[in-house]
Amino acid sequence: MGMRNRPVSPHLQIYRPQLTSILSILHRLTGVALAAGTALLVLWLIAAALGPGPFAIAQAVIASWIGRLLLFGWSFALFYHSVNGIRHLLWDVGLGYGLAAVYATGWAVLLISTALTLGAWSWGYAIMGAW
């Protein structure tokens, strides 16, 4: 393209990490992780559609410790990407651009997505009668 040697602006390794940049990177990381995770949702749907046998296998895989670990990570990614997505949509309509607002909503997103993740898992375990 003839643009390979053009000067570039200072990049990630130049800037000191800060909440704003970390949350931005996390939004992209969780987005990519969720895209990969959709494949697992598809497998679960196929297993359920195939019948009780395949469904039982899928449920056993999810209930295993590695299944739960993946699902826990995936659930946080989903809550984070959704709640931070609302933050992005508000920016799109011009809201919350002040430096104080950017930090306040950033911390709020972390708090809310963590609370939603823990809440969803507590609810699930309560249904299982584990507590």
Partner: protein, 119 residues
Amino acid sequence: MSSPNLARHGHGRGHWWAQRLTALALLPLLAWFVASLVALTGASHGAVIAWFETPVTAAAAIVLLAAMFYHSQLGLQTVLEDYVDDGPLFRAAILLTRLASFALAAVSIAAVLAMALGG
């Protein structure tokens, strides 16, 4: 996000809007879907099938899957545009994410329909 990347695909504005509209659709759909799945924790196969046999569930699940795969394909394309130089690799990667997203959407919607229609 830079203009040369958007120009590469020639429809940056449509991409931008589709990304936001699918995001808006996904927020309520995911809240409902995730809450329903958590409520189905440890449920029997029969209970899961019974849930998908409800017409509203099946319809909402299909809209959710379509919006989700469209949204994730747009997102993956943005990531590729940002990190991969234009060329055969870039084009192949874009084509692959589109094909994979379409195939996964089609298969998962077929699975929901099979459960909804008792196939």
